[in-house]
């Protein structure tokens, strides 16, 4: 009894609350990155290795626009647009010729793109991290911490973007085309849907979402050329754990994994907390390789 009381007293409740908030914030951003990735996979069987680099480029474009105009919201919108156009161009030039070939070729091609983009960023912007200033600098008190409102704004904005995207998929004309193409590519083509352009459009939307998350996340850490790999790895884990091509599963998995990593970082150093998500991945692969957040296949 005494040990039980001691155990409950030793739980750092304040830290748990703080880490829950942190976990939800990074989880929402991760969900934004991963939903683009899983959408691209679901519709065209392309694992986009360059997704992390699109995230990184979005952050850099954000930095440039922010320096030029001084408006964070302008930076957010412009970065998403620019990277979405870039994504469309990349899809047309490199992925379209590969349609109908072994899907493994597309991994290789997007890996090539990620190498080019990452080294371009290093060459153009140098190895020193850039900073994006927070648009909202007010704080509120959370135990002993001054918790920035901006973080909550990020979570809300990410949720809003994902939500409006979901509505668009459900009711928008192009959204219906996307869902139709995901279900049956050949039939969609036969019904007069321009499938190649749906592919390009989806890639552009995914790229734009990655860029938006890059700009949103930029103020929390520095913007540097190597940030893409971390994110694409995390997004891959999320997409596998959530079930490939499953939008809702990816969002749940993103929040789940980010929460776990945040809690783990109470007790270990953050670079090792990554191992927790690796362990989740391994366990998922062992016991439920179709994904944690999908209904059991019949």
């Amino acid at each position: 009894m005494d040990t039980l009381v001691h155990f409950f007293q030793s739980i750092p409740y304040d830290q748990i609350v703080i880490q829950t908030m942190n976990g939800i914030v990074t989880g929402m951003i991760l969900a934004l990155v991963a939903s683009g990735l899983t959408l691209i996979f679901g519709i065209m069987d392309v694992v986009n290795f360059a997704h992390g680099e699109l995230f990184m480029l979005g952050a850099y474009v954000g930095v440039i626009v922010l320096v030029a105009t001084g408006s964070f919201w302008m930076a957010l919108v412009l970065a998403s647009l620019v990277v979405a156009i870039l994504g469309a161009a990349l899809q047309i030039v490199t992925l379209r010729p590969l349609i109908g070939r072994d899907p493994l070729n597309t991994i290789l091609a997007t890996f090539g793109i990620s190498l080019i983009l990452q080294n371009y960023a290093l060459w153009q912007f140098g190895p020193v991290a850039r900073k994006i200033n927070e648009p909202i600098t007010t704080h509120f008190n959370l135990f002993y911490l001054e918790y920035p409102w901006y973080r909550l704004v990020i979570a809300a904005l990410s949720a809003a973007i994902i939500g409006s995207f979901w509505l668009f998929l459900k009711y928008g004309k192009f959204g219906v085309w996307i869902r139709a193409t995901t279900q049956d590519r050949v039939m969609a083509q036969a019904m007069g849907i321009p499938v190649p352009w749906v592919h390009t459009g989806v890639f552009a939307i995914g790229a734009g979402m990655a860029a938006a998350s890059g700009v949103l996340f930029g103020p929390l850490v520095g913007v540097n050329h190597a940030m893409g790999l971390d994110w694409v790895l995390k997004a891959f884990i999320v997409v596998v754990v959530g079930g490939m091509g499953n939008l809702g599963g990816s969002i749940a998995a993103a929040i789940f994994i980010s929460l776990l990593e945040s809690y783990a970082s109470i007790w270990m150093n953050p670079s090792q907390a990554v191992i927790v998500s690796f362990v989740v991945l391994i366990l998922t692969l062992l016991f439920r390789p179709t994904g944690l957040f999908v209904p059991t296949p019949k």
Binding site: T94, L98, P103, A109, G112, L115, I116, L233, S271
Partner: protein
Amino acid sequence: MIKHSNKTYWIGFCVVLALLIVAPLVLPEFWRRFLTEILIWGLLAMSSDILIGYTGMISFGHSAFFGLGMYGAAAALLLVSPPNMWIAIGFGLVAAAIVSLFVAYFSTRLRDIYFAITTLIFSQIFYVIIFTWTEVTGGENGLAFSRPQLSIPGIYSTPFTTETLHWFVLAVVTASYLILRRVTQSPFGMVLQSIRENEPRTRAIGYPVERYKIVAVMLSGLFAGLAGVLYAIQNKFAAPDFVYFLISGETVIFNVMGGIGTLVGPIVGAGFFLMLRELLSRMFGDQFPYLIPLGFIFIAMIIFLPQGLLGFARRWLNR
């Protein structure tokens, strides 16, 4: 016809081997080392060809096997005194075997894209462990050690020179090539190729596909570990950079550039890649981001030349 092409094959093999044996005697010091390095990277690429070319599984985690071979050799060279080459090779191979068993057990449950992603994630796990476990692995700085002597146990022992090192590496790579070639032509290799062509059908015939895949990944990991040991002996250090994802990526690039499913192709690809890199950094200086033009060439080759340099050359010769 078959007999004829077999003969030309062996003649070609002997000519190339002879050229590689003579090369260190005529080349200047820098290119001698460069050639040795190409052979080592070629061995790494060749080992992953077993998976990419013959079994149809793209591994993005070969840096883990390579790096663990390297750290295994480093452990042997630091712990055992006097440093012994054969113990280093043994340690490296055991380390690579353990890691590849671990990776193989989990990742072969998945196919295609999922396999590529999980191998990538596994290699990243080992990178994080090696990078953060500073007391054992030296963390970011890695480990430095002295080069062992070239020895035949009990008979002969002499320090490595650049020539003997080259010949030693050449001997190991040639032997590995012949072994891998034999393996790919064996019944086991045939089953791997049938898994690549049609996995459900291979399973339906009654082959335990998972077991074959695990053995394939382990075989591939062993030879990648061997390449890591050779690299450790050549450069006298082990660093976490060699476990990083970039090495796995370059291994895949070597394969695609040279031609997958040919065993020799990956070595050609490694040579092509490293020569281009050297050329670019000589023309534009050390700071030049050589991966940008190489990335463009890589993508162009995937789209227009999916057979790689060797496949292209072969088709052109047969015309």
